[in-house]
Amino acid sequence: MRVETADIIIVGAGGAGLRAAIAVAEADPNVSIALVSKVYPMRSHTCAAEGGAAGVIKSNDKLDYHFDDTVAGGDWLTDQDAVELFVNEIPKELTQMEHWGCPWSREGDGHVAVRPFGGMKIMRTWYASDKTGFHMLHTLFQTSLKYPSIKRFDEFFTTDLLVEDGRCGGITAIEMRTGQLRTFRGKAVIVCSGGAGRVFPFTTNGAIKTGDGMAMAYRAGVPLKDMEFVQYHPTGLPGTGILLTEGCRGEGGYLLNKDGYRYLQDYGLGPATEKPVLKAMELGPRDRLSQAFWHEEKKGRTIPTKWGSVIHLDMRHLGEKLINERLPLVRDLSRNYVNADPVTDLVPVRPVVHYMMGGISTDINGATTVDGLYAAGECACVSINGANRLGSNSLGELLVFGARAARHAVEYVKTARPMTDAAATAQASDVENRIAALYKRTSGKERVPALRQQMTMSMEEGCGIYRDEVSLKATCDVVAEVRARFKDVALEDKSYVYNTDLFQTLELGCMIEVAQALVVSAIERKESRGAHQRLDYVQRDDVNYLKHSMAYYNPNGDPRIDYLDVVITKSQPAERVYGAAAGGQVTA
């Protein structure tokens, strides 16, 4: 088997992976980097992020305000040391992006502009019209081309981490165009493989967001933290799940039920003012908005369509000029996919799975419980998002913690002992045999698409916006069953060159593990907090559950769930207030 070596191996070339690679290159040009990604970097799902990235820069704002919004937004399940670090570092990171050429939208005097975002008390979200993630990703990718120490392995599908004695020494990855398995040996591995929204059927996440890195780390013994917290974004297009950014509401869009009524005022988010007020109405946090939809649906006040119930997003009063300038992609998507022009029509929307608050458990340096193994970006959980991420915090997160993990890894590799050849070879050949078995198995009883569909549907049914013991148990059973049946899948495509049947199969394997960690964590959390809302335990329970759930892999059954204390420094848990009482700034 061919072996590649590098000091630091980065799995994933999205926002987090690229930021990490550049940080390594800048910290020490002599540290060699292998940047491994299953898609070309610019295809990574960071490109889909629309709205913006929050960072304190304007004179009316304070780091403490960003801290408070984030901690409260996360329903106090955030680690406050991490949040503090995050809000301190993000303005520098965003400025750095500017220095690398990111085309941030500007004010008349040439300073970067900020826009309002849900759950934020003050306008602080930097944006590049409504293509922020796209511009950030391309800026990072193009900037990364400057550094000779970054060696890219585009379209290499990582299958496993190589771990010996609690120390990570590399990965195995399949070169997609030859089907050949390769070993990558290194002293540190940074996993930046993105989220896992695809474990649900209706999601804003791209096809590649299948939780591969989470599953790899999990199988290698690293706990997945807070997996039960799944963010539904309130405004996805019915049918496709394509996202209409929160910027739509930030700029002043309304959410209307079937009677044309701004129903959010009935859910503690009012009063309904004409101009948007931060932290109120449409600018409330995502968990609250998605939950309000669920209640409206139960009351029969949503509009039924072939793609499920919808409510309307009304942007007509914003005018064509503003929409073209600040929300051009939204207009493009709505016109194309639901045949509604926001300038003149109401746009149908519904909540859609968007983001995983949970992920690979790390400390504030991105380090995991395995030495030399780091994680950053959406696949990781440093706990700045807690029980509910605020929109526009994750683009910042992947910069801050991508760079931190990288810098820490650069220090680590200076003294790290490499893994032994024997162990690396043995593990790699296990992987090789596993894949060979997939090829050899003939006429498997099970088909990948059918298993995937069965699993994702049951996730939506039993583990959605609202959950209870019964629904969760049912989903848990389905996932366990799918996991068992997955052992019988056989490849229907036996070729080696760009075999997407193989990759979808490996991805399904990862999704099953992630789904199981998710459902079991959800069953065990017997309270309602942030995005985790239980119909059978409707209150937040700080006595028993002001803790992170930690799911540990179990090859033969349900994961073991353990708990870890939340880091609280200066903000004691309190009630989350939105609407008039939150005292948010009136925008524009």
Binding site: R2, R177, T178, G179, Q180, R182, E432, N433, A436, Y496
Partner: protein, 139 residues
């Protein structure tokens, strides 16, 4: 077969589709219309040669000039003229169409809309043409 997951053999064999170097432009309407405006240059060249020759005839005196005019009246030249005219108009319109792409003018914060540029070109074209015709008329 598991061997192919190691590097014993490289199974790649990228396929390159052949492109004809001499007839590629027949494969799409878009390319054909491009070739039409490229070919207009043949007529521009012919016309320029005709004009330069005409100058020499003019310099040579009235009789020579008369023979030049007679040449212009021959059916072949008339036919070529008519075809050339079509190509010239195609050249003009396709050239104008491309103007906003090749020149971006900022007006304050906005890029000057292409339509204005194109319209202006048509306006100037009309004015120039009218001017030449009047000049020829009064002569």
């Amino acid at each position: 077969m598991s061997a192919a997951t190691t590097d014993t053999a490289n199974p790649r064999k990228p396929y390159v589709r052949p492109i004809s170097k001499t007839s590629w432009f027949l494969t799409s309407a878009r390319y054909k219309s491009y070739m039409v405006h490229e070919v207009s240059s043949i007529f521009v060249a012919l016309y320029m040669i005709q004009l330069v020759a005409g100058l020499f005839y003019l310099a040579a005196g009235p009789e020579e000039w008369e023979s030049y005019l007679a040449f212009l009246r021959s059916p072949v030249v008339i036919l070529l003229t008519l075809v050339g005219l079509v190509f010239f108009v195609i050249h003009t319109t396709s050239w104008f169409k491309a103007v906003p792409q090749a020149t971006r003018i900022m007006r304050g914060e906005e890029v000057l809309p292409g339509k204005i540029l194109v319209t202006a070109h048509y306006g100037i074209w009309a004015a120039v043409s009218l001017f030449v015709i009047i000049l020829a008329w009064v002569a």
